[in-house]
């Protein structure tokens, strides 16, 4: 492989990693701060993608669909937290797993009833629907670069929000001691509700901006779920910074695994996870939020 191809593969890896970060960040927030194992996270990604498909075919614009879809996702998150998840904080993980697994089935069935089981494409917005030629045969779609830029911006925003703002401080405090925060007069229930809504919105947002390149199809949520958990575990539960580093590592491991050791391409990511866990059983950035 020449240097040029290597660089393109590097770009592929980083770009894939950034998208993984976007999906997984919501999971690590909900898992790390609220202690909820949310198997339905992949469903929120799927719901986002289907919203992008439905809303963009209704309104004719992916951007309008993304704005409207994000608001709907926040609403969905608030309702779910209020109706279901708020009853689970004091229960053990098994009951959370049962509920969220049930939600996967419910969301898949609803998707089937409302939109059907067909595969749908979502058009790339006209502004970014072109490619940059890299070699004589290969071009790089601009929309993929835009996606990466959005992911980087969001990572920065999240970091600032959690570490440099007052609500972020409340979230971090709530993560380390729920009772203490409550006794200081802060409305911890509201904080949790917002964190959950934020987590749902992040997953749905990832689904929406990924929809033009991934298409929307049944079962797409379960596909991202497992890899998201790998990101969270490698990065350290609850750590945004960890999720970013882990997602990039996974993106690179997966891409170069496919190129250099194609026979093992299915397991390079899990090998990486095993190595990291042997070295740091708590993940790369445990508890740093």
């Amino acid at each position: 492989m020449d240097v040029y191809t290597f660089l393109i593969q590097l770009l592929n890896g980083v770009q894939y990693g950034l998208l993984l970060f976007l999906v997984a960040s919501g999971l690590t927030l909900i898992f790390g701060i609220m202690g909820i194992i949310n198997l339905a996270h992949g469903s929120f990604y799927m719901i986002g993608a289907y919203m992008a498909f439905t809303l963009s075919s209704l309104t004719g614009s992916l951007w309008i669909a993304i704005v409207a879809g994000t608001l709907l996702a926040v609403l969905l998150g608030v309702i779910l937290e209020w109706a279901l998840f708020s009853h689970l904080y004091k229960r053990d993980h098994l009951q959370q797993v049962l509920l969220t697994y049930g939600l996967i089935l419910v969301f898949e069935e609803l998707r089937s009833l409302i939109v059907g089981n067909d595969v749908h494409g979502v058009p790339v917005p006209a502004l970014f629907d072109w490619s940059i030629p890299l070699t004589a045969t290969l071009s790089y779609p601009v929309y993929r670069l835009v996606m990466s830029a959005i992911c980087v911006a969001l990572a920065a925003l999240l970091y600032v929000f959690i570490h440099r703002t007052r609500p972020g401080m409340m979230i971090r405090a709530g993560a380390s001691n729920r009772e203490m925060v409550a006794s200081l007069g802060l409305n911890i229930n509201l904080v949790y509700r917002l964190v959950f809504a934020l987590g749902v919105a992040l997953a749905a947002f990832a689904g929406m901006i990924a929809a033009p390149v991934s298409s929307v199809y049944p079962g797409m949520g379960t596909q991202v779920l497992i890899i998201c958990f790998v990101v969270v575990v490698i990065g350290g539960i609850g750590s945004i910074r960890g999720a970013l580093v882990a997602a990039l590592l996974i993106g690179l491991a997966d891409t170069f695994g496919k190129v250099f050791i194609p026979e093992l391409s299915g397991i390079t990511v899990y090998l990486l996870m095993a190595v990291v866990l042997l070295w740091r059983p708590e993940g790369l950035f445990r508890g740093a939020a």
């Binding site: 894939y16 595969v119 494409g121 045969t137 390149v213």
Partner: protein, 397 residues
């Protein structure tokens, strides 16, 4: 119905007895009917990703039976349906339910190869007649073939073989293959490699990724670096949509033609849109196939089910035609199993895809068409291979 009249007076205990009695009555009813009705077990996916395929196969099957006067060899028909959920783990149980509990005479199914493999095992163990209307696993009509197992659809390698020949005939020299790493993909790619290399080409690299991953970018980069004359890819459904779109977005379509089996562009053209235009695929069916039988079939199907038929409906229709040929030959006397099998083996099926007969291993010997994507259609532009028979793969029939 007499039993139900007594229930209110005799309390719960008697109610239970009444229900039991009613069940017994119903059961006696079916055993009596068994002597007159032929029981057909449809084990197909009616929920999940393949639900639409299961429905199309069922519709096609029932249409052929209806055209035969709603009977088989002069006997009435009773259907037993089981949703196989495309779940291989549940397949032995489901097949046994139909065979042991419902005592079906014929088992029809299914779409998913893993489920079909399990069904063929159960069918062989119980010596039940099985007709497979889709699943293409080569083994079923290869090393695992049996006198009582038939297929009305195709084997996975057939489309690869056809495309390999077409590409070699176009004097393409090098090819890269890409597939999900599972049986259907491996067999399809295997068929392509076999025929392409026999025709003087060379497969320079065989790429694969775990099912159902869809992150193709590294492979596209590699293909661009390898610069083969053609790329043969096996994907279906959501994966096919994403792959074809990614391939076009990477600008590869202009320099390296992409080809594949029909699944790459079947039922996915709405979502693939512009990116699929002009792609060549091979399948045993396609749009614009101007055969009298096909035109009649399409009209009848659309009239009965208010939706146009697809390749799966054709396969269901032909499964029933195959069964009709067998049962009519013995005038409904299924105890003459050897004669039923013989009639099916020698039948010439007037299929909407064009007439076909079965190979020694009970797989269709049919024309494979070369199709080109034109708008929202997979237009048949030529016959890729006439009367394609599978290579013998260790079937001892």
């Amino acid at each position: 119905m007499d039993a139900t009249g007594r229930i209110p007076r005799s309390g719960m205990r008697a109610a239970a007895l009444g229900v039991a009695a009613a069940c017994a009555l119903a059961w006696t009813g079916t055993t009596l009917a068994q002597q007159t009705k032929i029981k057909i077990g449809l084990m197909l996916p009616y929920t999940g990703t393949y639900a639409a395929l299961g429905t199309a196969i069922t519709n096609g099957f029932k249409l052929a039976i209806q055209e035969n006067g709603g009977k088989l060899g002069g006997r009435e028909i009773e259907y037993f349906t089981v949703d196989d959920e495309s779940d291989p783990a549940k397949a032995p149980d489901n097949a046994n339910k139909l065979i042991k509990r419902d005592q079906v005479d014929v088992l029809v199914g299914t779409v998913h190869s893993g489920v079909a493999l399990a069904m063929s095992k159960v069918a062989r163990d119980n010596n039940t007649l099985l007709i497979i209307p889709n699943a293409g696993a080569d083994e079923i009509t290869g090393p695992l073939c049996a006198a009582n197992v038939f297929r009305s659809s195709f084997s996975n390698s057939q489309f690869g073989i056809a495309m390999g020949k077409v590409m070699a005939d176009q004097t393409k020299k090098t090819a890269v293959t890409l597939t999900w790493k599972y049986a259907a993909g491996d067999e399809s790619v295997g068929g392509f490699k076999e025929a392409f290399e026999a025709g003087g080409g060379k497969v320079v690299k065989e790429l694969s990724l775990p099912f159902p991953q869809v992150e193709f970018q590294p492979y596209l980069t590699e293909i661009a670096a390898l610069k083969p004359d053609v790329v043969y890819a096996f994907f279906a459904g959501g994966g096919a949509v994403k792959f074809v779109k990614d391939y076009a977005a990477a600008g590869l379509t202009k320099t390296i033609p992409l080809v594949g089996p029909g699944f790459l562009t079947d039922g996915t053209l709405d979502a693939q849109g512009e990116s699929a235009q002009g792609l060549l695929t091979t399948l045993h069916y396609g749009d614009g196939l101007n055969l009298p039988k096909n035109n009649a079939f399409r009209a009848a199907y659309a009239k009965t089910f208010s939706t146009p038929p697809d390749v799966y409906a054709v396969q269901g229709y032909d499964a029933a035609q195959l069964l009709i040929a067998g049962v009519n030959a013995v005038k409904g006397d299924l105890s003459k199993r050897a004669d039923v099998v013989k009639a099916m083996e020698t039948a010439k099926i007037e299929s909407p895809r064009g007439a076909f007969a079965l190979s020694k291993s009970h797989n269709p010997i049919h024309d494979i068409y070369l199709r080109k994507v034109d708008g929202k259609e997979n237009k048949v532009i030529a016959v890729a291979i006439k009367n394609l028979n599978d290579p013998p793969r260790g079937c001892k029939l």
